[in-house]
Symmetry: C2
Subunit: 141 residues, 2 copies
Amino acid sequence: IKELPLLQLTAETLMVSSEKVAHVQLNNPLEHALLILVKSGYSAVPVLDTSYKFKGVIGKNIILNEILGLERFEMERLSDITVEHVMEASTPCLNRSDHFLTCLKKVIDHPFVCVVDQDGYFDGIVTRRAVLKQLNKYIHV
Amino acid sequence: IKELPLLQLTAETLMVSSEKVAHVQLNNPLEHALLILVKSGYSAVPVLDTSYKFKGVIGKNIILNEILGLERFEMERLSDITVEHVMEASTPCLNRSDHFLTCLKKVIDHPFVCVVDQDGYFDGIVTRRAVLKQLNKYIHV
Ligand SMILES: Nc1ncnc2c1ncn2[C@@H]1O[C@@H]2COP(=O)(O)O[C@H]3[C@@H](O)[C@H](n4cnc5c(N)ncnc54)O[C@@H]3COP(=O)(O)O[C@H]2[C@H]1O
Ligand SMILES: Nc1ncnc2c1ncn2[C@@H]1O[C@@H]2COP(=O)(O)O[C@H]3[C@@H](O)[C@H](n4cnc5c(N)ncnc54)O[C@@H]3COP(=O)(O)O[C@H]2[C@H]1O
């Protein structure tokens, strides 16, 4: 099984390339971020800065948790808080040259993992779906 | 690769058993469903009826999409609409005796798949994480 071409696949070949990835900016208010998330249909997306460097991840749960008050969801607070203040900033990343097993290990605990170059620029995302599709293809030998 | 014990695993051994699965009821208002989703941290959960039969799936995106008006999220409508009216009712399911490859195929397009018996009772869910963990274990031979 070590010789399978599967194991030679890299994050670069697996990933959804950056131009196809919905994202938000560090300084966007949560109101804008929530709208992007609901309209794109994604539960979480990457957060980038103005020069397209990867900064973190934000999702509906983080946003809704932030505005959940004692009695109701305090929607008015969404325009007062920026993405930067609530996003998850310490998510694991991949490098485009990382091999399949490294990608597989990282998606065990994360629905998607961002691919970032050595200078911190965002290259794309490796999703669980992409990894599962490859495994399904190679398991039928 | 056909002889791997991996392929003999069943949905029953992979699944998160029903008592550990957060769920909502058909007749819950969306307000209650959204609270359950935000507090549990899950983006989507199964919908059951009062006798614990599987009926569908509901997630934050369906709920937020439903109340997104032209100018704002109309939170007041959450108490007027029930889960039954917006849930996804036609999601694929698994049977507890289904083997690994069937489970793998189904999680390619779904973060989790409900395990249901022949009378429609809810047994548990098979998650992408459970499938990926097994694949990671067996791929290191
Ligand atoms: N517009 C769509 N068309 C077809 N299928 C869709 C879809 N939106 C969601 N899905 C399905 O639902 C899964 C979970 O999506 P979720 O948004 O929770 O979680 C997604 C989302 O957070 C992120 N993601 C995926 N594609 C993205 C993109 N183009 N831009 C931004 N984030 C993306 O990666 C996670 C895992 O994605 P993955 O593909 O493994 O798994 C996806 C995919 O199987
Ligand atoms: N409380 C927690 N503790 C540790 N890790 C957590 C977690 N909540 C979420 N995660 C991680 O985030 C992934 C996506 O969760 P999500 O809620 O979008 O999507 C979840 C959720 O919709 C559903 N799900 C999983 N466990 C559930 C449960 N006990 N009750 C209800 N639904 C569940 O199945 C989907 C896929 O779950 P999966 O485990 O593959 O993938 C999970 C898991 O890797």
